[in-house]
Symmetry: C2
Subunit: 395 residues, 2 copies
């Protein structure tokens, strides 16, 4: 018995990171490989009380089928929470998604023909590459300089169909796009036909100063904004959202309508209990601002400890920047160090990281000497030891 | 500003039912249009206690990122629950999905090239058509007789790539595929190269006798089985599952591997809290068998009341069969009655149904004179009145 798989599956490959993470789950390993937020930061008790309250007061409704767009109150909260001068969000333009990962899949389905040009940063979020790939686009490196991706790359007629950007504390790079580059990119977007996907899971995780205003607030008709409660409340609840482009032209309306239809075909709707629970927390006595302050303070300390450990321990020729937010340090080892090849040595030494190569859109572009380190999963006391174990592997 | 949408979106059209349901939500309308299980049948208190227990004992783990395959214990439960002689399910072949709707999308993505032949019953589940359509297959009517879809349609070389079937208490038709036809279909499947998608959301909702063994148990290498907790526990939790084809050949392994990758790209994983909650119910003091007995008894009474009301009230020339399970009566009015055109008259009379045409894969094949009536959402006392209001609209 043989089945024919769809030809698009040839481009779908297992996540290298996934396989790596399995290796690193051995006991005794100090892992900086994961992309997981610190579970100690989850508001477990508030969520427990919230579940009890939601099921006690809205039980059957929380367990019934619900609308594909998402819970009206949650869509309103998102619209209010993000709206700012120049970006007044209509709640009907907010689509609740099953994590922001689903937003990437829906956008791929609705926007990408085979061969469509998609610009991505180098390196970029691996999950975005995995979401887009089955739709067989031409994923291309977004030309960039020290300040980030270049606005000129959005020019051309028609220009790239889609550009994908994580402006705040990027995964894996850690950098935050500055005000001037945001202004320039927004201007280019307004002139062209490219739709920008602005993926912002980390915006709330700033440790020095808050990030500049989103691209979506500068070019709301040209940007889809993806947000998530994963890093803020809990990733396991799988609740994210998409602010679809505004505009009342035919193509903006068609885009919004097709995204909703795609959402409906994918999973009918995001679980109602989870949406109601999050709305209950946001509207109840749970103090999101105080919670975020505590999370930021926790992560800031971990980041500072890792910055100090890297500066103290790493061998000559390693380069990195201290990320102003997010969860990751991106380290470039000396050119001759192949971080994928060195991983077994690191695991042997009791430490784990993610090699940099999978974060690039093509093997050619990949930096074999880069690696990603998460600073949020190890306790401060463990971070120094982890980096000390890592150092000899990068010589 | 105009965006180019992917050409596949041309085939994605809004759900006719969705728009119809909006009209029928007016106060005072006795609606038999919905596909929703009765909320009175949800075990709200058990779920409330389960949530509290899960968050109390597994809090951070229930809220953290989780594996794309699904919770190991839940995969094992599914494997044990479904296994029977001839079908010993390996838990590693079970994939937990965000509702079984997601299973349809994943299968479309992994199996369907543009132009691939997909056989579907006439009528069939609208959500399956919506899930498959973006992958641009040729959806074709599965030739059938009184006993259901014909095994001969699976012959040919290569034959259809995929065949889609709801064997138990079909939506919308209500029928249950008999033992002999199942045997014949399984035999054809074993001889050919068609993968059967066996969608079974309603199997537990039998009112006379349990349905025959699944097709998957008769041809486990040729069938993907989709199951769901939606009709059994709660649809709003969005937890379903897929039993992938067994077999250790290259193509079976590749299929399972690509399905997992597709799942990961779609939403990373199904919410962990929801999976743990369901497993807690299944393994704890909640009695699933007793719960299902109660649900069946409730629905059986409603079905019998509707059967009596239809026999008493509907005009001459209307035809239907009493469904042996599930949630729906499928009624064929006299040929000249266009049920879509008559819907406004029905709503005016204070009653709603879903016209039959959208359940067909092509406009040509559609029975304009058919309609679907749900018997589970109205109380027995209301069912007679609803059917009485409907009757004059079908003359």
């Amino acid at each position: 018995m043989t089945f024919a798989l769809a030809s698009r599956t040839r481009r779908m490959n297992p996540s290298a990171i996934r396989d790596i993470l399995k290796v690193t789950e051995r006991p005794g390993i100090l892992s900086m490989a994961g992309g997981l937020p610190a579970p100690e930061a989850f508001p477990v008790e508030a969520i427990r009380r919230g579940c009890d309250r939601v099921l006690g007061t809205q039980g059957p409704a929380a367990l019934q089928y619900a609308t594909s767009e998402g819970l009206p109150g949650l869509r309103e909260w998102v619209a209010q929470h993000l709206s700012r001068p120049g970006w007044q969000i209509d709640p009907s333009h907010v689509l609740i998604t099953t994590g922001s990962q689903q937003g990437l899949d829906l956008l791929g389905k609705v926007l990408l023909d085979p061969g469509a040009q998609v610009l991505v940063e180098q390196p970029t979020y691996l999950g975005a590459l995995q979401a887009f790939t089955p739709y067989e686009p031409d994923v291309m490196a977004w030309a960039s300089d020290e300040d980030g991706p270049l606005p000129e790359a959005l020019a051309g007629d028609p220009g790239p169909a889609v550009a994908y950007l994580i402006p705040n504390f990027q995964n894996p790079g850690g950098q935050c796009l500055g005000e001037l580059r945001r202004m320039a990119l927004a201007q280019s977007l307004r002139r062209g036909h490219t739709l920008l996907i602005e993926d912002d899971p980390y915006g709330a995780l700033w440790y020095d100063t808050p990030p500049p205003a989103p691209l979506a607030s500068r070019a709301p008709q040209q940007v889809v904004y993806l947000g998530s409660f994963s890093k803020v409340l809990s990733p396991g609840l799988r609740v994210g959202y998409m602010v679809m482009p505004s505009g009342e032209g035919d193509s903006a309306r068609a885009l919004r309508s097709k995204l909703l239809q795609a959402k409906q075909a994918c999973d009918l709707h995001t679980p109602g209990l989870n949406q109601r629970l999050i709305l209950d927390l946001l509207q109840g006595d749970f103090n999101l601002d105080a919670h975020l302050c505590a999370v930021r303070e926790r992560y800031r300390i971990q980041r500072d400890v890792m910055a100090h450990a890297l500066a103290t321990c790493l061998p000559h020729g390693c380069r990195w920047r201290v990320p102003p937010g997010g969860m990751f340090f991106w380290v470039e080892a000396p050119e001759h160090v192949d971080t994928l090849a060195r991983l077994p040595q690191a695991v042997e030494a009791g430490v784990a990281y993610v090699p940099g190569a999978p974060f690039f859109s093509s093997v050619d572009a990949a930096r074999q000497n880069a690696l990603r380190l998460s600073f949020v999963t190890l306790a401060p006391a463990q971070i120094h030891e982890a980096v000390a174990r890592l150092a000899p592997c990068l010589v």
